[in-house]
Symmetry: C2
Subunit: 180 residues, 2 copies
DNA sequence: CCGATTATTGAAACGGTTTTCATTAAAAGA
DNA sequence: TCTTTTAATGAAAACCGTTTCAATAATCGG
């Protein structure tokens, strides 16, 4: 696919997400504001997992008058609207990732290096629904995270630190997209 | 089973858990202290999901000199030793539950009333391991939570508040043990 | 267009978790 | 036993996420 087409698709996608946002705003009886527009705009530009604080600093660069709270609340709003998704990896921070036009997925996290791989398992999904129904619940959403030692870190362990146990949570986070 | 037998079994269980704890202490080169003994003792007596703060107040009654921090750190220690397990239900609090001699399980949480049902699905478990291996990970642990509307709340919704959406997180938490 | 209404904003406070640091005390060695 | 070493303790601070509240600004009605 040509770069031009990629960009066109991206722009189209953004438009859709902005429409979804405005629709959600209207349906909930909320108000459109310059701050919300700007925060959404910058969120859409950024593909990585980011925290409210991360996004706040990006927003700061374009409008220093916007506060932490507004960014925080707008991310919650985007989550309600289905455009964002909250995600936690065990370092006591809340990350947000794009949700609209992104396939639903879960995460597997390396306990050694913090690498995050996204995966989707239709079998697990359907069994979750089955379990919910078995207990009389109408399922709304779920959270599944797996932890383990990734291939790279298994090799590292063999080489130099054979007895090094998993210690503090790592700082580096590599995001890997992995299809099913 | 007679109550006497129950109690005897309970006492035996406690002894085992204390042994596990001491073993873990030794292996990790840590030290046995009066505070840790007391905190473990009181944790073992209490079967419900409790927070570090909850446990702190129980400990206070028996030894007011023990601080929040020590309770917090001892719970982490018990988690490492496999005697406790951290659990979050979405109210931004960390609960601890017994883990040793308790079957591994996941949770399904009612978004309306906060009821928590424990369940175990061997099928889901093995599929999780399969996914981990597929991506080259050696799995260590996982976290699965399902949310939905429980049977009671479905009926409630039909009766009186047909349009009431799920709002703030509930205070009341009913713990239900449900076998497979 | 103007005023009334009411959602939004941002600073600051709050709440729970985690870390820091000076002090205390457990274990190990002489 | 006495000394040395080093982990554990508890108060306080730091940290992130969330809520509160007075001030502001978007929408609505006239």
């Amino acid at each position: 696919m040509l770069k031009l087409e990629d960009m066109a698709k991206k722009i189209e996608e953004f438009k859709n997400e902005k429409e979804i946002f405005l629709e959600h705003i209207q349906k909930a009886g909320l108000r459109r504001t310059a701050q919300r527009d700007l925060i959404l705009e910058i969120f859409l530009r950024t593909e990585e997992h980011l925290t409210s604080e991360d996004l706040y600093w990006l927003v700061q660069k374009e409008d220093p008058s916007v506060g932490h709270t507004t960014v925080y609340r707008t991310l919650k709003l985007l989550t309600e609207a289905g455009l964002a998704r909250e995600v936690r990896f065990g370092d006591n921070k809340t990350y947000y990732e794009h949700h609209y036009n992104h396939e639903h997925h879960d995460h597997i996290i390396c306990t050694e290096c913090g690498k995050v791989v996204e995966f989707f398992s239709p079998e697990i999904e359907s069994m979750q629904d089955a379990v919910a129904h078995k207990f009389g619940f109408i399922p709304t959403h779920h959270s599944l995270r797996l932890w383990g030692v990734c291939e790279d870190c298994q090799h590292k362990a063999n080489e130099s630190h054979p007895t090094m146990a998993s210690g503090a949570q790592p700082r580096v986070r590599v995001k890997t997209i992995a299809g099913n």
